[in-house]
Amino acid sequence: MPMTPGADCLTLMPMGDERTDEELMLAYAGGDMLAFEMLYRRHRGTLYRFLLRSLRLRADADEVFQETWSRAIAARARYRADAKFTTWLLQIAHNLVIDRFRRARPQASEEEADTVFRNLDAPEEDRPDHVLSEFEQRRRLQLALEELPEEQRVTFLLRMENGLGLEEISEVTGAGRETVKSRLRYALARVRARFES
């Protein structure tokens, strides 16, 4: 059932559509609104959480989320099926996030992470995740994510939230494969440091 513009996406009955993201996007570019609704349902949550955790402010996340979809809609005619839809959508979102970072403040240096690595040698048995409550663990992970330098945070989130592999993260962010690996290592070290502090 196609949605009218004023309708709420969440009131829709679940739509069983076997089509891939790419097929849905092409169908939407051809005028199939139902295909877009399906596509939106599939990706709205992960995209929103990626943006919210990257930008940390709900207002910013709302704005960039809407802008991302807006650009995807505007560029539907240029979409080619050989590009994976998730990667394409996240590329748009990532570019907007980076723009937002640049406007907000200068990039944090990665030297801080080296210090974190040096102080990371804690005994396995003393790892706090063994002793902290579930609530506390989630709170600490949340804080750790927020404290990550922007590029590390985005890279880490693309892996954790969106499930992208090294190649895909590299494609989305425009960074080299080794750079992506390095950022992930630093991010992990910082998260661990937060848990062990």
Binding site: A7, E37, R44, S70, M160, G163, L184
Partner: protein
């Protein structure tokens, strides 16, 4: 005491379960976008495909058709206006004169490009010859054209009703007070005579210019009508704040071929109507600035 291996941690992160923090991350709050944003995005997507899916072609087609129709319409209007202007110029110069008098401007006449003005000497001789001919004042060019092509054309409107003569323009009035010797008596009896002639005898001026403008004496009937016409003329002057253009004589001369007009100027000068000749010459030079004047007229200019 075990130390963490960053490479091993990275490999675990890249595993399907995303390592030791993967499960914890999945338990973080599953925040969703606000519903208002859902509505906004879906609305935009819907508008986008409704806005330019297929109708884009139709819109382009409509724009093209509209543009073509506009061009055709503009061309049609321009053609119609051009036809009307031509018809008015050829068929109703008298009516145009009357309108022009009413609106207080001299109608713009097409400047007749002289056929390669010949040398000054030859031109002077030609002008002298024309000036010497009795009744040399020929028909205006437009009148000639009318006579040459009497094909069924709409009839010219009847001559304008005998409107009281509009006052002469300020410049002309300043210069005209020098009366022709032969006109003195008439001018004394009817100070408004020349102005009356302008309006009331426009058609007659062409057929009998000698009587109206060329110094003919007043007839008794005109003298009887004098005071009445004079009061009419005064009334008209009082009603029109601006003085209209010069005399009908001057306007008629404007329509003459350049060499014929120059001959007329020479004739006016010889007839002792120097002021009138000067006025004609000034107007001639405005309309034909490139025309080389014969020596006799250059002297008049000075």
């Amino acid at each position: 005491m075990s130390r963490h291996d960053p490479e091993r941690d990275l490999n675990r992160l890249l595993d399907a379960d995303r390592g030791e923090y993967g499960a914890l991350y999945q338990r973080l709050s599953r925040t969703e976008p606000p519903r208002r944003i859902d509505r906004a995005v879906l609305g935009e997507a819907s508008r986008a495909i409704r806005g330019n899916h297929r109708p884009a072609r139709a819109q382009r087609w409509l724009i093209g058709l509209g543009s073509a129709a506009g061009v055709v319409l503009a061309a049609g209007i321009a053609w119609q206006v051009g036809q009307q202007v031509r018809t008015q110029q050829v068929v109703a110069p008298v009516a145009e004169d009357a309108r022009a008098r009413d609106s207080g401007f001299i109608p713009v006449q097409p400047i007749i490009v002289p056929a390669e003005p010949s040398s000054t000497g030859a031109m002077s001789a030609r002008i002298e010859e024309l000036a010497a001919q009795p009744g040399a004042k020929t028909e205006p060019v437009v009148a000639k054209a009318r006579a040459a092509a009497p094909v069924a054309r709409p009839q010219a409107p009847p001559p304008a009703p005998a409107l009281p003569a509009p006052p002469a323009p300020a410049m002309a009035r300043e210069e005209t007070p020098l009366p022709d010797v032969r006109d003195t008596a008439t001018a004394e009896a009817f100070p408004e005579k020349s102005e009356r002639d302008d309006a009331t005898s426009a058609p007659q001026a062409k057929s009998a210019p000698a009587e109206s403008d060329m110094g003919g004496t007043a007839k008794p009937s005109e003298i009887r009508m004098g005071s009445e016409r004079e009061s009419d003329a005064r009334r008209t002057r009082a009603m029109s704040p601006q003085a209209p253009s010069g005399s009908v004589q001057l306007r008629n001369n404007m329509q003459l071929a350049p060499e014929v007009w120059l001959a007329e100027i020479v004739r006016l000068e010889r007839a002792g109507r120097r002021q009138q000749a000067i006025e004609n010459l000034r107007l001639f030079q405005r309309l034909h600035p490139d025309w080389e004047l014969p020596e006799s007229l250059r002297r008049l200019q000075e």
